[in-house]
């Protein structure tokens, strides 16, 4: 039971049949239409994912005024780029510095800033990540290959209410020559959750 995708596969097959039964019955009774379910799925398979967050980060790296607005009111500044919506109604951006490293978790379930990162990866929802990140963050970060110097302050953010958190990572060294578009591909989902630095 080290991770949620290793749990009961046979149970999942039974659940899959129940989900299919529920959708079929609701459609046949005229209570829902298939296109509505499709639209929800397509939003996260096609339109909304960590590329949105990467664009926010890259803008903050090249535009100090934008960075200031982003740290002051994340929802508003992210909205300037056209991103926002469900699970992003109150976004707070926390900034890594040479002296501070931030990392985000949801111990209760899976709170996550959907408009900028899409839906969370499996490990974020795993019992191991949820239970351990608040107690031994350096040990968990090391499992992601992230070793922090002893003098770096670790700040763990447990999303438990309505605020959703996004980490603004450090701009990598040697990228002074890159424009905003060139910086976007350097920003990964893992940087913006904070499991890599």
């Amino acid at each position: 039971m080290s991770d949620d995708h290793e749990t009961d596969r046979a149970g999942d097959q039974s659940i899959a049949r129940r989900v299919t039964a529920i959708e079929s019955l609701l459609v046949e009774k005229g209570l829902i239409t298939s296109d509505v379910v499709d639209a929800v799925v397509e939003t996260y398979e096609r339109d909304v994912g960590p590329l949105n967050g990467a664009k926010v980060v890259a803008r903050a790296w090249v535009d100090p005024d934008y960075r200031g607005r982003l740290l002051d009111d994340g929802t508003q500044a992210i909205g300037e780029l056209g991103f926002g919506g469900a699970e992003g109604e109150h976004l707070v951006v926390v900034e890594n510095t040479p002296a501070v490293h931030n990392v985000v978790v949801c111990t209760l379930c899976s709170c996550y800033p959907w408009p900028v990162l899409g839906l969370p990866p499996r490990w974020y929802k795993s019992f191991a990540y949820r239970s351990r990140m608040v107690r031994e963050p350096r040990a968990v970060l090391a499992e992601f290959g992230t070793e922090l110097a002893d003098d770096v302050e670790v700040r763990v953010w447990d999303s438990s209410a309505d605020v959703r958190y996004l980490v603004l990572p450090l701009r990598p060294d040697g990228t002074d020559g890159l424009a905003e578009d060139g910086l976007v591909p350097l920003v990964t989902r893992d940087h913006m959750i904070g499991v890599v630095r």
Binding site: T7, D35, V41, G84, A86, H90, A161, D162, R189
Partner: protein
Amino acid sequence: MGGMHGFGPVTRDPSDRSLDEPPFHEPWEARTFGLVVATSAKGLRTGSTRPSIERIDPAVYLASSYYARWARGIEAAIVAGGSLTSEEIDLRAATAGGGPTRSNATDPELVAAIRGFLNRPAPTSGEPVAAAFGVGDRVTVRRMASTGHHRCPRYVRGVTGTVERINGGWPHPDADTSEAVYRVRFDMRDLWGDDAEPGFLYIDLWERYLS
């Protein structure tokens, strides 16, 4: 889950290459997620998603994958909403094969509304509300033996921290009116003892949880 031990290392899915892990790994996971939003928009279930997930038998919860927990949660909420019965779901699940029935009808207005709800900027949420504590105040999380849905993890109860920000007000899951929610900063040593890793834990807590 916070602070529980014994779950081993955090392992990555083989398909996880940082940006390109798909949001859904199986078609039924995607349909489950879509049904959560669609049935809510159509008023077909009672209550919100998380309380229905937290009512799952604890042993079943721990043995179920993430979207299986969602599926169990919404099934219970749809049945409670009265549009389907457990018996008809049992019967169909035992006999049906393949994918779900496709409707000929469409609902473009609802599709547009849902796309907007999921993916359209809006002003920062949180109501201006009266707050009993101020930034810099030392606060202690109440000890509570809560039943049902709550948003106060066990591992912070009884521990003292410092208010760092007043986020605004939201209705607590038990209430209709907004209540102040505070960002509280805890020293890891106060949470986990003197041999804790150095560092700080930040968590947002409703006023009712604090003293």
